[in-house]
């Protein structure tokens, strides 16, 4: 599940993931994303932070409880501005962050790794 308001980024991540054989869903804002997570129950959620309607941080907090019953990985893409901005991620279950600009390869490797350990 890729959630980002920037179309280009959605595209490139989706493309990369699809090439590796993953099924990709997309949402363009946090609200849409949350709905889809609840409905579709993806294994991995890749989300931006700054988005209209519902930002990435709130999305993470809201889905944290869902992870208890059905765990999934959340990768948060951030523009790191100040040191303690990302501290909240440590309180989240199964969440990591990746700083912009990131390498899509690295991102996909991360997803691979997650699935690798799982299965």
């Amino acid at each position: 599940m890729v959630i980002d308001d920037e179309a280009h980024i959605r595209r490139v991540i989706a493309l990369k993931l699809q090439k590796r054989g993953y099924e990709v869903m997309m949402a363009s804002n946090g609200e849409e994303g949350l709905e889809m997570i609840k409905r579709q129950e993806p294994n991995v959620v890749i989300t931006d932070i700054m988005m209209p309607k519902l930002d990435g941080k709130t999305l993470c907090e809201k889905t944290n409880d869902l992870k208890r019953d059905r765990p999934f990985l959340t990768i948060v893409i951030t523009c790191r501005v100040s040191p303690n901005e990302q501290i909240w991620i440590e309180d989240m279950r199964d969440a990591v962050f990746m700083e912009k600009p990131f390498s899509p390869t690295r991102l996909v490797d991360c997803v691979d790794q997650y699935f690798g350990t799982e299965s």
Partner: protein, 608 residues
């Protein structure tokens, strides 16, 4: 010496007193005796008058006289005559020669008396006073004769033994009492003497005082007292003057205190000053306003009572233990009693006197809501800018990576990717340009790179930049351009930035499948650019602020989009630098119309 004269004087007074007292006694006794004689005389005369004359024969007469004399003391009875009606003497009892010396008129009056009469007379050359009582004798209703009785009061000896002894005893008692009183008073005044000596002892040695040991007489004591009173008076005058001085000083201090109070009243944050026991001494106007109380309701009350905010009170107590480290410690909190949303910064410090001893505390409370929100908005701005930078960078990097790893086989897709990279690079460079310009404006060093600007180029370039995003949203770009494009004088790049900002906004804030109309006109003096969209429009509250730096509307449609709030601000500055004007017309829901007018001639910006 004076005392001796006083003593002598007193003695005379005393004697005079005794003397007059004795005289009064004598007079009193005399009066008593006279009264006695008179009473006896009247009685006897009446008695005799009752007796019939005829009975007065020989035996009877002596018996009668004997009785008479017995009754009256020998000194008292002098004579007794009984006359008949004609005045002939019937009976006579008188010392020899006395009857001759009784004045005629007395005798005559007596003889003619019709009832009991009393007369007094004095015999020539004698001091004795005689009383004659006369009464007519009636028998069977007829006047038969007259009885005349003579008594006299013997002179009183002034110095009778009784009197003398009485007076002596009295004198003794008076003297004794007097002496008693004198020494008693002297004794009683001794403590006063002690006090007066003390008082004098406090004065400087230059003030002479009589040797206290010399005499303990009342005179000395009184003298001492006099001196002491003088000194007390002097002290009093001195104290009054000191009082006056102090009052003046107090006046000055009060004035200064008022000045200080007024100064701290004019501060833009609250101040409470307390004493050591945390009772409020002063609270300035700002704070009273926050508390919504009058000064008199707050002064002298404990701090905890007036400012019942646990967090603050706890903070203040913590400050007490940290005081020595003189760290600037603040507490930032909300105070619900003042306001639900505002944030306040509280700090506390000790007030010390000249020697460094603690005399109280000062607590300041400042409303930092606006500071905080300014910080927040700045922070927000930076976050926004970072995002705006990193997003295109991410796109560029990832697309590039994919291309480099030969992951894109499709040639169409490859071209698309290259295009995207190019676009995003432009986007990034624009952003950088905007920020740089903003920095220059902030520092006051933005200058125009003036040259001749061909408006056709300007328009083409600007429109080209937004073509792609417009296409994505299926927005139609309508152009109303003249055949002959005017030229104007200005900074090419800046004008382009200005136009792109407007056009970009039009695309950003318009929903899908709407139209944006761009037109260009000229007249003699101005070139007019117009951008009209069918977007969300600008609300009345936002309209005055859209050209403010960092201003972003809270409207949903706007807040949704990412933006730095700088675009329009930048545009406005650029237009202004070119001597032009920018106008906006907008209705929410109906779109907006931006009109930019730039003079054709070069405009010299005056340095302010």
């Amino acid at each position: 010496m004076k005392t001796r004269w006083i003593a002598i004087g007193l003695m005379f007074v005393f004697l005079a007193g005794i003397g007059s007292f004795a005289r009064i006694l004598v007079a009193q006794e005399q009066r008593d005796r006279i009264q006695e004689i008179v009473d006896k005389g009247s009685y006897l005369t009446s008695l005799v008058a009752l007796h019939p004359i005829a009975d007065l024969n020989e035996q009877r007469r002596s018996f009668f006289l004997r009785t008479l004399t017995q009754y009256v003391s020998p000194e008292g009875l002098v004579y007794c005559f009984v006359h008949d009606r004609k005045g002939n003497l019937l009976l006579s009892l008188a010392p020899e020669g006395l009857s001759a010396r009784i004045p005629q008129e007395i005798e005559m009056k007596s003889l003619l008396a019709s009832e009991l009469t009393k007369q007094d007379f004095a015999i020539r050359n004698a001091k004795d006073l005689y009383y004659e009582f006369a009464k007519p004798v009636f028998e069977e209703g007829q006047k038969r004769g007259v009885v005349r009785l003579g008594l006299h009061v013997p002179p009183l000896s002034f110095f009778s033994s009784q009197r003398v002894s009485l007076i002596a005893v009295l004198a003794f008692f008076i003297l004794a009492a007097g002496t008693f009183v004198y020494y008693g008073v002297a004794r009683a005044l001794l403590p006063i003497k002690g006090v007066s000596c003390e008082l004098q002892g406090n004065q400087s040695a230059s003030q002479r005082l009589p040797d206290p040991g010399k005499s303990s007489g009342i005179g000395a004591i009184i003298e001492n007292l006099e001196q002491s009173f003088d000194q007390i008076k002097a002290k009093l005058t001195q104290t009054e003057m000191q009082n006056l001085e102090l009052a003046t000083k107090l006046g000055v201090l009060t004035f200064e205190k008022n000045v200080i109070a007024r100064t701290i009243d004019s501060l833009g944050f609250g101040i409470i000053i307390t004493d050591i026991q945390d009772n409020i001494n002063h609270a300035n106007a700002y704070l009273l306003n926050l508390l919504k109380q009058e000064r008199k309701e707050v002064v002298d009350r404990p701090l905890a009572e007036v400012l019942g905010h646990e967090e603050i009170l706890a903070f203040i107590s913590r400050q007490e233990s940290l005081e020595n480290k003189s760290s600037t410690n603040h507490l930032e909190t909300t105070i619900s009693e003042f306001s639900q949303e505002d944030t306040f910064r509280v700090s506390a410090s000790y007030l010390r006197d000249v020697e460094g001893g603690v005399i109280g505390k000062m607590i300041s409370i400042k409303n930092i809501t606006s500071e905080r929100s300014a910080e927040k908005s700045q922070h927000g701005f930076i976050a926004n800018v970072a995002h705006e930078f990193l997003t295109p960078l991410t796109t560029i990097k990832s697309y590039n990576e994919m291309l480099m790893e030969d992951e894109i086989e499709d040639k169409e897709m490859q071209r698309e990717f290259y295009n995207t990279i190019s676009e995003e690079t432009s986007r990034l460079s624009r952003l950088i340009q905007n920020l740089l310009n903003l920095a220059k404006i902030e520092m006051g060093s933005l200058s125009l790179n003036t040259g001749l600007v061909k408006t056709d180029w300007l328009v083409q370039d600007s429109l080209a930049t937004i073509e792609s995003p417009a296409q994505k949203k299926e927005i139609i770009l309508e152009k109303d351009l003249p055949d002959n494009f005017p030229s104007l004088v200005g900074d090419k790049e800046l004008l382009k930035t200005a136009l792109i900002n407007i056009l970009g906004n039009a695309v950003k804030y318009s929903p899908k499948e709407t139209t944006i109309r761009f037109s260009l006109h000229e007249d003699d003096e101005m070139v007019t650019f117009e951008v009209k969209d069918q977007g969300h429009g600008i609300g009345k509250e936002d309209l005055p602020h859209i050209f403010d730096k960092f201003y972003r509307s809270k409207d949903q449609n706007v807040a949704e989009q990412t933006g730095s709030g700088l675009g329009l601000a930048m545009t406005a500055v650029i237009i202004h630098l070119h001597g032009g004007e920018i106008e906006v017309e907008s209705e929410p829901g109906e779109g907006s119309r931006f009109i930019i007018r730039i003079p054709k001639e070069e405009y010299h910006l005056e340095k302010h």
